[in-house]
Symmetry: C2
Subunit: 227 residues, 2 copies
Amino acid sequence: MIISILGTGMVARSLAGRIAALGHQVFMGTRDKATTLDRPLGSQGGPSFASWLQEIATLQLVNLEELPQETELFINATNGSATLSALTKISDRLKGKVLLDIANPLDFSNGMPPTLSICNDDSLGETIQRDFPDCKVVKSLNTMNAHLMVNPILLEGDHSVFMSGNDKEAKEKVKSLLVQFGWQTKNIIDLGDIKTARGSEMLLPIWLRLWGVLNTAEFNFNIVRKD
Amino acid sequence: MIISILGTGMVARSLAGRIAALGHQVFMGTRDKATTLDRPLGSQGGPSFASWLQEIATLQLVNLEELPQETELFINATNGSATLSALTKISDRLKGKVLLDIANPLDFSNGMPPTLSICNDDSLGETIQRDFPDCKVVKSLNTMNAHLMVNPILLEGDHSVFMSGNDKEAKEKVKSLLVQFGWQTKNIIDLGDIKTARGSEMLLPIWLRLWGVLNTAEFNFNIVRKD
């Protein structure tokens, strides 16, 4: 499958590396390829994006506008605040396609911890679906650390991943990728239409507090119910 | 311990019955005692509040203004929309006392599912603490069904209850009640100060969606992490 990822940050790289290792052809889209290639991977420096990229044969970095028409699945792994402008650059290619949205509308403008720039009676997932009505938006994976998204087995036992979206087939496509990552189908919870993305995005405030309290980002929500 | 519960709805009765059974002296406060006594327990009728009450010897129903000065722990189990006006009626008695707030600021004015009347950069827990600064507010138990609050053993295995509050001793008092209900200390997660109540209150939107999808209210969040 040809999969195009919007974004080049830590979450995008975690997804890209794992999806490429699964045998898919992966494209990463950025605003400016040359700048991204030169950028160090960490906020404190370290190896460059280019050196990371050259280790993965089936992964290519391109400008957003060059993400291939043949893409079967787009993944939005940009910052929530940059999402709409990034998607606008590829709006012609989103028509009829599935877009897995893993971003959260975090607003850091008032310091830490961030608040949400959209919530309660709307969500980023719904906003994308409204702004790009011909694309099939599926919200998922936005409620956990990037390592767990693509390797749920890092945590023992059951834990949950949520899905929201209006299109059943689009959700099946995303679900099949989640299963490839290692998610058990019983732990993939379909919340319903894209409006239910409000629920998963509004998990972020407690996620951020738990991160501080537990002193690790490698934790997840499990929905415990009777069998 | 003398425990006073504000509210007479299903959640308040679940708490009152369990706390009385644990051997505490329980008072339930209502706006108008006579009206409450006559009210049927269910929305479709059924036995009256009075008939339920007379089965529990250590439980008394009084008007809010009559809740005893000797109360050691107040529990807010009113609807979120009625909370502040109910607390105002007993503001003189809240001074220096611990108030366990289990309410959520649900707003049903725009239909189902409800939104939150306060969220993101504020919470009901914080609002109460601001409006009644001499009282020690602890937010807890607001993220699950009333049966699970007081009988966590109804669900097998680990599942979590959150606590938020500014006062350490007040949180210890609430924690000891949670342990009496059957909560294991490892599953009681102290999120931090009362501002963290934003996180637990913002779980409600996904809770409500999960209720619909799972077809039961007897489920809970478990925070899964490495040991």
